[in-house]
């Protein structure tokens, strides 16, 4: 037996007490803070669900075309989305789509500034790297419980859990992209008297953009893989269909919903990737 240096029971008790304390004292405040996000999410979901299906398909096709400038890609993305509808999962698909957009948006808002900061401050990098490792490897159920205790069941904890799981690749790739910028190119910008701000927005970020886009792509993929788990804490949508299928042992329901998730994944992946590729071509120019 390993010698008992500290009492495991006491340690667990202390953590429990701390979380309890957080919940009793701060749950209301946290919920108030998260309220605007919830409203935005609800509004987005309502908009997607109440809009006529062809409008949504057209919008996705338009975005795909704007991003990739390829007609075939745009058509394919439209067909894929129609496929979700054909499988009878349009409504659930729109719920999942809105959750994804929200989670990706939040990830970008958090991930890119953090990545930039990491590239500039080596001490922050030293701190963040192990934190990112933990975020990526810690089983999500572990933080799902306290998050649910704090925010209650629903969309907000689902998004928080999704962001925690999905944001690390974006942070890493932003950091990497900025540090990979050619030293001489950056030196040139400094030699001409560019301020740190001009260096960042004029040189570093544009040149890191292909990597950042790859990070966003990774983030969306990982976010999609969280939908089933998110559905366990009250997020509706395709993940909930899969969960129902598991609970009722309805293989068909689970499989069809799973296929719809894959369809959405391909949608996100192709659109973000083709944007990244176009950026890469632009950067190689």
């Amino acid at each position: 037996m390993f010698p008992e240096l500290i009492s495991a029971r006491d340690l667990r008790g202390a953590i429990d007490a701390f979380v309890d304390h957080l919940v009793t004292d701060y749950a209301d405040a946290l919920e108030a803070i998260s309220h605007p996000f919830l409203q935005l999410l609800v509004w987005l979901e309502q908009a997607l669900r109440s809009a006529p299906w062809w409008l949504v398909v057209l919008a996705v096709m338009a975005i795909a075309w704007l991003v990739g400038r390829r007609v075939l890609l745009s058509l394919g993305m439209g067909l894929l989305l129609c496929g979700v509808g054909v499988l009878g999962l349009w409504d659930a698909g729109m719920q999942t789509l809105s959750l994804m957009i929200m989670a990706t948006g939040l990830s970008v808002l958090i991930g890119i500034p953090l990545g930039i900061a990491m590239a500039r401050l080596s001490w922050l990098r030293a701190v963040m790297l192990p934190v990112l490792d933990v975020m990526q490897t810690m089983p999500s159920f572990v933080y799902l419980i306290p998050v649910v205790m704090l925010f209650g069941l629903g969309k907000i904890p689902a998004i928080i859990a999704t962001v925690i799981y999905a944001v690390p690749p974006l942070i890493r790739l932003t950091d990497l992209g900025i540090r990979l910028v050619d030293r001489e190119v950056l030196e040139a910008s400094r030699a001409f008297g560019a301020t740190p701000r001009q260096q960042l927005f004029g040189v570093q970020l544009p040149l890191a953009l292909p990597n950042i886009m790859a990070g966003i792509n990774q983030t969306t993929m990982m976010a999609l893989s969280m939908v089933v788990i998110a559905s366990m804490i009250g997020a509706r949508g395709l993940g909930y269909e899969v969960l129902l299928g598991i609970n009722r042992l309805e293989v068909g329901r689970g499989l069809v919903a799973g296929l719809a998730i894959v369809a959405l994944a391909i949608l996100f992946d192709r659109i973000t990737q083709s944007y990244g590729q176009r950026m890469r071509r632009g950067a190689a120019r």
């Binding site: 001489e184 040139a188 910008s189 001409f192 190689a284 120019r285």
Partner: protein
């Protein structure tokens, strides 16, 4: 006053450079550590040791050395891309080290621009936007900065390429963009860090010519880094040679070529085609006897005999008019001519700037005396065959060539140049 003044710069790379500064300096009675000793003892790399330079306004100052000699480190001190461990850098009398962050940005925008070895172009910007970058940083409005960028792109021969991207251009063209970008800000000082080293020899030569042409018009202060001595000798008004972070020799190209400070410099010089660098002015002997068109024949003959000359150059004002041989002077005196003007013969001449290779070719073709002329045909002196030979064959010329020169019997046979040789 000099444009850039560098005083006692030390640069030590490592975690605690200040701690080892005294050791590198040899302060406090301690022995001065060499670069290797410092590295072994402390893990710190000595980048530069006690560099002091003074760069004149309007000159091309070449800093040369092999890779690792610290030349790129040194040039980055001028605009403080690298901070020195000790020492000061004065640009126009302002200590660069005293500038705050904002002032430093302003200083880099206004005073200096830089051209990089691997061009340092922005791959995501068009050629025009690259050339306009320095102005964009300064906040110049788009129409104005594009107008100026276009002008400079035209100057470097890139009109019509504005919409291209750097990767679509060849290396030489990319560096032209780099040059246009540096010139567009109208900075007085141009820092060129091995700017032409990545280009192939023909393009490099073309770029050197272009730089010299531009410099003739713009008269900027250019600091040029290179590892190529031919390039250094071709471009530089002055040259500083670095080795292992130390200044080995500093001087004009001729100084360095004719008086190498040590074996290291000498080794560099082995590879150089001396005849391309040295010119007729290095082989000229100042005249001890010159005549004018109005000289009386008898008087001229008397003076030539006194010096035992077979001929003497005849001037018209400062310009070279021709040559008078002792024979012709004797005939003129016998005929009782009033002055020598009617018996003066043509004298071959070369401009002082003509390379020794050209001069040599001329000497081989004919054995007639040759005069050296400066601007507006001004007479500078006679060309010494012996000096030409000494300059072209350096190593032997230093020791073995010395003795016969003293006796004045270096050139065999009674050639007409002998008389001039005897003057030296």
């Amino acid at each position: 006053m000099s444009k850039i003044e560098v005083r006692g710069i030390y640069k030590i790379f490592g975690h605690h450079p200040k701690k080892w500064l005294a050791a590198a300096r040899g302060d406090g009675g301690a022995a001065r550590l060499s670069k290797e000793e410092l590295l072994a003892k402390s893990g710190h790399t000595l980048g530069l040791r006690d560099i002091s330079l003074s760069i004149e306004e309007g000159s091309i100052y070449v800093i040369m050395g092999l890779s690792g000699s610290g030349k790129s480190t040194l040039i980055r001190h001028f605009n403080r891309l690298i901070d020195p461990t000790a020492g000061s850098i004065l640009v126009d009398g302002v200590d660069v080290m005293s500038l705050g962050i904002r002032e430093l940005e302003q200083f880099r925008r206004a005073k200096m621009s830089m051209v990089f070895q691997r061009f340092g172009l922005f791959p995501h910007r068009s050629v025009l936007d690259n050339a306009a970058y320095g102005l964009a940083v300064q906040g110049v409005a788009r129409p104005e900065r594009e107008r100026r960028a276009r002008h400079w792109l035209e100057q470097v021969g890139l009109a019509g390429f504005e919409r291209q991207y750097p990767h679509q251009l060849s290396g030489g063209m990319q560096q032209r963009v780099g040059l246009a970008r540096a010139l567009a800000t109208d900075a007085e000082i141009l820092l060129m860090d091995e700017a032409f080293s990545a280009l192939d020899p023909l393009i490099r030569r073309e770029m050197q010519d272009q730089l010299l042409q531009l410099q003739a018009r713009l008269n900027k202060t250019i600091v040029f880094i290179t590892h190529d001595l031919d390039e250094a000798l071709r471009l530089g008004n002055r040259i500083a040679i670095l080795k292992d972070g130390e200044l080995v020799q500093e001087g004009t190209p001729e100084d360095i070529l004719l008086n190498p400070a040590n074996d290291y410099v000498q080794a560099f010089l082995q590879e150089v085609n001396r005849t391309k660098v040295l010119n007729a002015s290095h082989a000229v002997i100042p005249p001890r006897l010159t005549l004018t068109m109005r000289s009386r024949p008898a008087h001229a003959l008397e003076r030539m005999r006194a010096l035992d000359y077979a001929y003497a150059p005849v001037l018209d004002g400062k310009r070279l008019a021709g040559v008078l041989t002792a024979e012709a002077a004797g005939q003129a005196a016998a005929q009782g001519l009033r002055d020598v003007s009617s018996v003066v013969e043509d004298l071959a001449s070369v401009p002082a700037t003509e390379g020794l290779d050209q001069v040599l070719a001329r000497l081989v073709r004919s054995d007639q005396p040759v005069a050296v002329t400066g601007e507006d045909d001004e007479f500078l002196g006679m060309l010494s065959r012996k000096k030409v030979v000494e300059l072209v064959t350096p190593a032997q010329g230093e020791e073995a060539g010395q003795a016969p020169e003293a006796s004045g019997q270096g050139a065999p046979g009674p050639e007409p140049g002998q008389a001039c040789g005897a003057q030296s």
